[in-house]
């Protein structure tokens, strides 16, 4: 026993090391698939399906080129008759006896994901913030029942209602439209957003907006100038949750979109090369697909860390 006083709540150096080791191991385990996807995106199709799997390989951007283009195979005579390639990607494609026929649909699908993901997140936050504020501040008749009702929409997997929604959307002409997907993801996310945001709103003392209203502002002005700046943490955390759901959603996107409004998740697995799936292109699509959420999360990281503790560290 050491005679020096030690705290009972502060971890010792050994405990700290142990915790750090656990975290590093966990991080490695969760990151391994992502690293593998990223590595696959830089392999040639042959390397990607070789057995045993290759860990060391010559990287190529072929997967990315294939992701963004459609190509046609040509006869050697035709290839010989072409002028020298102008760009590195032309050269890469020609080395496989193919020429670029045009851009692939990935760009469009990716843009659809951006429009639908961010659009529904924005709409969810807009509606959710107002609803949460109302639930937090006003005497709404049947408030508790309404809140329970809102939450109850999350009590089954959304996909359980896929068929009715499919039929409704066909009837309403919302199938395969951006608006339809934005509305759908908003509907699914809104319950979570209202509940999360209500918690954050409850934490903001109502004296702030009362002071503003006495100082001469309308309730809406007080909401905008006093409540919103204080709710940013909660709004950011909620926005990330909503975006991640809308961005990654696969089942509804597969069912309800096929062309104009198809998002990236159902599109990526359909990238087919010669003789089966073009794994490097699929991996390239998945890698690029991860980036926006990653960037968004890093940008809002400060808020997220404070936000997901649900106000516990606010004074």
């Amino acid at each position: 026993m050491s005679a020096t006083a030690h705290s009972v709540i502060e971890p010792t150096a050994r405990e700290r090391r142990f915790a750090a080791t656990l975290i590093v191991i966990y991080a490695l385990v969760t990151m391994l698939p992502l690293v593998w996807i990223f590595m696959t995106s830089l392999k040639t199709p042959q390397d990607s399906i070789s057995y045993p799997p290759k860990v060391v390989f010559g990287p190529t951007l072929e997967g990315y080129v294939n992701l963004f283009t459609t190509r046609t195979r040509q006869t050697p005579e035709y290839m010989a008759s072409l002028p020298p390639p102008e760009t590195w990607w032309d050269e890469l494609v020609r080395s496989r006896n193919m020429v670029i026929a045009g851009p692939s649909k990935f760009g469009e699908r990716f843009l659809n994901s951006v429009i639908i993901g961010f659009g529904s997140t924005f709409l969810t936050i807009f509606l959710g913030t107002l609803a949460a504020y109302a639930f937090s501040r006003f005497r709404v008749p049947l408030k508790d029942d309404l809140l329970f009702f809102i939450l109850s929409t999350r009590m089954m997997p959304p996909v359980a209602v896929a068929i009715p929604i499919f039929l409704m959307y066909r009837q309403l002409g919302l199938s395969d439209t951006h608006l339809g997907m934005i509305l759908l993801y908003t509907a699914v996310n809104l319950s979570l957003a209202v509940w999360l945001l209500k918690g954050f709103m409850d934490e903001i003392p109502r004296e702030y907006e009362e002071a503003a209203m006495i100082d001469g502002y309308t309730r809406l002005q007080a909401f905008r100038k006093v409540v919103l700046p204080q709710a940013t943490t909660g709004i950011a955390a909620t926005a990330i949750f909503c975006l991640i759901f809308a961005w990654n959603e696969y089942a509804f996107a597969l069912l309800l979109t096929s062309g104009t409004a198809q998002t990236a998740p159902p599109f990526i697995p359909t990238i087919i090369g010669e003789g089966g799936l073009d794994w490097p292109a699929v991996a390239a699509g998945a890698t690029l697909f991860l980036l926006p959420v990653l960037v968004f999360t890093i940008l809002l990281r400060k808020h997220l860390l404070r936000g997901i503790t649900f106000g516990a560290v606010r004074k």
Binding site: P205, E207, Y208, E210, A211, A212, M213, I214, D215, G216, Y217, T218, Q221, V226, P229, Q230
Partner: protein
């Protein structure tokens, strides 16, 4: 600056009545304190005057104009909250300037008025600091600054000193009163602290369970309480209450407590039975061997210039506040006398004070 008048003001939340048919007039320039225990409806009353809460019934008149259902921002009233409610995302200057921005006052004038206000409150050196790091007293001053910069018709304050420590509260009490005297604005101040109320008020309204029990000057409230609640709530320690008997008719000027007769101010009304409650403040209880009413000393609390003596008697415990010089031993038998012109007789059924010569003096 303005008069504020409440007429039959009533507020209930579902079955709970928070404020019961209240009538009050606060005249221009007065420092008016609403005093009562927590949950007595004082804050609800204040919030209705501010427009943060709508009354169930009744009227609120501000300068003769009916503002009962007007929005808070249309009333031109300033409010200081218990927790100050300084906007945490703004610095001191912007906090004080905030109400002026709402009124679209020109930039240059905002600057002048904010600095003038800051000088008045001696916070001009803090203007560009964030409000997060301020000490309690400075936060309080910023909150006051935000209220006075607008030059509103009236100030409403909801326990603004509640979160400050005792020493600082005393200082802020003085400052608030001095500020009021300088600006001369009608002020309604809510507190549960009788010392604050006594120190600052021109008039005090004592509330309990949604009802206003008495509206009077601090002196009146202390010396001529109209009910047992007011008598007990004001003063530390509270007034002594002793059961007494006698012919409680108009004209009576003595009652009997535990067999000994004691003089009281001549009564102008009687009670139904022959029992009543005699109320006497500790400082009007005297010791003397001549007094027939006797008891034994139970405890002595020394408080500096005075000491507080608790005496066990047949009629119950009596507390007396006497000069610290007198030496009294625990268990010692003493005679107790009551200042005859200071005693109040209460009707035990209604807990109201009986009309007597004592209250006559108040009207005169």
């Amino acid at each position: 600056m303005a008069d504020i008048e409440l007429r039959q003001l009533h507020k209930s939340f579902d079955a709970f009545v928070a404020v019961h048919d209240t009538n009050m007039t606060i005249s221009d320039g007065q420092f008016f304190v609403l005093l009562g225990p927590s949950g007595c409806g004082k804050t609800t009353t204040l919030r209705m005057i501010a427009g943060l809460e709508l009354p169930t019934a009744g009227e609120i008149l501000l300068d003769g104009e009916d503002v009962t259902y007007k929005r808070a921002r249309e009333r031109d009233i300033a409010f200081v909250f218990q927790l100050f409610a300084l906007y945490p995302h703004l610095n001191v200057r912007n906090n004080i300037a905030y109400p002026l921005r709402a009124q679209c006052v020109p930039r240059r004038e905002i600057r002048v008025r904010v600095e003038e206000t800051a000088r008045l409150l001696r916070i001009d050196s803090l203007l560009d600091k964030p409000v997060g790091g301020l000490a309690g007293g400075d936060r309080q001053r910023v909150a006051l600054g935000r209220a006075i910069v607008r030059r509103p018709k009236a100030f409403l304050m909801d326990e603004p000193l509640g979160t400050l420590d005792a020493a600082f509260r005393e200082l802020m009490c003085e400052e608030l009163r001095a500020l009021h005297d300088r600006i001369g604005a009608t002020t309604i101040y809510v507190t549960h602290d009788q010392i604050e109320a006594m120190a600052m008020a021109d008039r005090v309204a004592v509330m309990n369970e949604g009802e206003v029990l008495q509206v009077a000057s601090p002196y009146e409230i202390y010396h001529r309480p109209r009910s047992m609640f007011v008598a007990a709530f004001i003063g530390a320690p509270a007034m002594n209450f002793l059961e007494c008997v006698g012919e409680l008719n108009p004209g009576t000027d003595q009652v009997t407590v535990a067999g000994s007769t004691t003089a009281v101010p001549r009564l102008h009304e009687g009670v139904a039975g022959d029992r009543a409650v005699l109320g006497i403040r500790p400082e009007y209880v005297h010791f003397g061997d001549d007094y027939a009413f006797r008891g034994s000393v139970y405890g002595v609390e020394y408080t500096g210039a005075r000491q507080l003596v608790t005496v066990e008697t047949e009629a119950g415990a009596v507390r007396a506040r006497i000069p610290a010089g007198a030496k009294l031993g625990i268990g010692e038998t003493v005679g107790l006398g009551f200042a005859p012109d200071r005693a109040i007789v209460f009707d035990p059924a209604t807990e109201r004070a009986l009309e007597s010569e004592l209250f006559e003096a108040a009207h005169g």
